[in-house]
Amino acid sequence: MNGGPETVEQPLPEPLVQRPGRLASVLLAGASIMDPVTGLDGTYDLMVEEGRITEIADAGSLTASGDAETVDGNGKFVFPAFFDPHVHLRTPGQEYKEDLETGTRAAAAGGYAGLLAMANTSPPVSSPADIDALRHRARNEASVPVGFLATVTRGMEGRELTDMAELREAGAVGFTDDGVPVTNPGILRKALQYQAMCGGRIALHEEDPDLSAGGAMHEGEISLELGLRGVPSITESVMIARDAAIAGYEGGAIQIQHLSAVESIEAVRRARADGVDITCEVTPHHLCLTDEAVRDLNASKHKMNPPLRSEEDRQALIEALLDGTIDCIATDHAPHAVEEKEVPYEAAMMGVTGLETAFSSLYTELVLPGTIPLSLLVEKLGCGGAPFGIDPFRIAVGQAANICLVDLEAEWTVGEQGYESRSSNSWCDGRRLTGKVLMTLAGGQVAYRLRSFSLGVA
């Protein structure tokens, strides 16, 4: 849009890094395969050899060779593995909540084969050395490929830009001050100008701190009744409108994180109609819960930012997912320790975990009742990397194996068998869900298999 000088294309590092491991050789026999990207939809045998998909053929036509194991997929579903563009892995500095090993294990259990980690760690990820260190740790600890975002402003203090170009060279997939907004519009403008040179979409936590004013839940009848300070919906939409205007003016690319309210959806639609390069995400909890849930004052399950909003907002989010306004589903997986949550609601930290339950919760709450089709859920859980230049995983010959095997009939109670995450602040804790991930192949490796799931026919 700017028509500026050509920038010299530096080859950037691979965006995602994973712990090296044994590449899987496995025959998924007779499973229903559904890939919304390629359109593949039917019952097939799928052969993975040395971590790559080598053959897709009629059910019953393939046999495992050599060391390959055979998994009976009869009655089960195979999807392209999911991609979550918004997780908090709490590393470095808050490993008591989560680390790369536990966080990626939780992701694998949820069917994910790709993650983007937010930068609001302790200290925040603001220097190329921070990115280097994290990528090094991921090579040792991450069972699922992880990419890292860097902060927009140094230390997330909102005052000075980070060394964006060097951060990109070090491997930063994008930029975000998530956890807090970029309150200074001049800083955001300069970051978007810099983006024209170095790339990297800027992901924005949209909230006007003066309008939120220390609120603990959605402002509405329930906050009034519970005596909790309210966070009005407009705190989000006014910032989206502001930042979309800046992005439009600079020709920049922005991702709106965790959309929560009907006014926000309208702001995104208007910006998109104006030609702004704007993408957005929604969380499973905002699609499934409303502020009614806050009545139990259970901060571990029901306190997060943005807060759970009204039923009208929830319906609008579902509608926006259906009509394509919302690009992808992101969990905003935000682990916290028990002692940070087992305090009065207003004093509790904000955030809930979601990686292990994203698919099952949405399948149970939205697909089973017929609100959204299964293929749309699989698509929206899979395409979260696209705003950051990472294509969705595909089930096709020659592709690396990034797939999940799912039993759509299995019922389970969340938390009954504990969690893979180090933290237990799941918004689904105690919920009975239908649909369970049995096995996840990530980057060609077996990243997860359900303990009680007996693999193979032998």
Partner: protein, 317 residues
């Protein structure tokens, strides 16, 4: 009823029962020996995370008048200052085997949380901006003694409704007893959507003459810094209840502490239209009644039993 967390825990009969009980304790309070042995051997803990004069002292004295042992913990000067969590503090105090814990806390829902952690009856003595049920009960007791039934009466609640737990409790309590409630104040201090609770909303004192009771809320000084009101002076001009604005039969209440000359003028406080002193006196006997109802009966408000005959309690405990 095992706990008193919210005025919503009580229906009209439950409220009447406590007010009846309070009336009989008021009679005890007029005797020479004001103490009854009802809770002898039981322990009542009061745990206050916010400063309080009226509520803490009256709960303490109420428990003592019922012969309970009382442990009073205030946040300042306790382990709370050293960063001990609410849960750990409460579990420590639970080791004394209290029958009741009276909690005042700056965060909404704190008293509800306690019920998961302790066996004792939990009494909410004010939680954040949420509820203050014992205040509502003492206000209802005060009104019952001064004007009788609230059926069909008009009560105006004036001032900082937004930040007030007393307002939230009292709107519900007054309505349960048949009164109609109007809230008045600047729009910045009236919560959005409060009409849904069945109150009328006014942004001025026009029409105040229709009120039987005028209930004033304290204007907290820090609200001015947060721009909820542009100036105390302007607020006082618009919303102060003074002799000029009050008719001769209208009664005035205030939960305290009062800002003389801001939400209420001195002449009104000191006039016979003010029930403020009666409210404080009611606080003691109503809190005795609350402790009695929670600690002596099965887990429900008993309607039939009277307190022990004061004649039988000759010896001071």
């Amino acid at each position: 009823m095992k706990h008193l967390l919210s005025i919503e825990d009580l229906d009209r009969d439950g409220i009447e029962t406590i007010l009846e009980r309070a009336a009989s304790f008021a009679e005890v309070s007029r005797r020479e020996i004001k103490k009854v042995p009802t809770l002898r051997g039981q322990t009542v803990v009061t745990l206050f995370y916010e400063s309080s004069t009226r509520t803490s002292s009256s709960f303490e004295l109420a428990a003592k008048r019922l012969s309970a042992d009382v442990v009073s913990v205030k946040a300042g000067g306790s382990s709370v200052d050293k960063g001990e969590s609410l849960k750990d503090t409460v579990e420590t105090l639970s080791a004394y085997g209290p029958s009741a814990i009276v909690l005042r806390h700056p965060h909404a829902g704190s008293a509800d949380m306690l019920t998961d952690w302790v066996d004792a009856a939990v009494i909410n003595a004010g939680d954040g901006m949420h509820q203050h049920p014992s205040q509502t009960l003492l206000d209802l007791f005060t009104l019952r003694n001064s004007i009788g039934s609230l059926e069909g009466r008009s009560i105006w609640i004036i001032g900082d409704v937004l930040h007030s737990r007393v307002a939230r409790s009292n709107i519900q309590g007054f309505q349960k007893m048949g009164a109609s409630v109007t809230v008045a104040g600047p729009p910045t201090l009236i919560p959005r959507g409060i009409e849904s609770t069945g109150c009328e909303v006014r942004y001025s004192l026009d029409g105040l003459e229709s009120a039987d009771v005028v209930y004033l809320l304290r204007l907290q000084n820090e609200r001015m810094g947060e721009n909820f009101v542009p100036s105390i002076r302007e607020y006082a001009r618009l919303f102060q209840v003074n002799g000029r604005r009050l008719g001769p039969r209208q009664l005035v209440m205030h939960p305290g502490p009062v800002n003389r000359g801001i939400e209420i003028s001195s002449d009104v406080i000191d006039s016979d239209r003010s029930l403020i002193a009666e409210q404080v006196a009611s606080g003691l006997v109503v809190r005795m009644a609350i402790l009695y109802e929670l600690l002596t009966g099965p887990e429900s408000v008993r309607i039939d039993s009277a307190p022990e005959d004061p004649v039988q309690i000759g010896e001071p405990a």
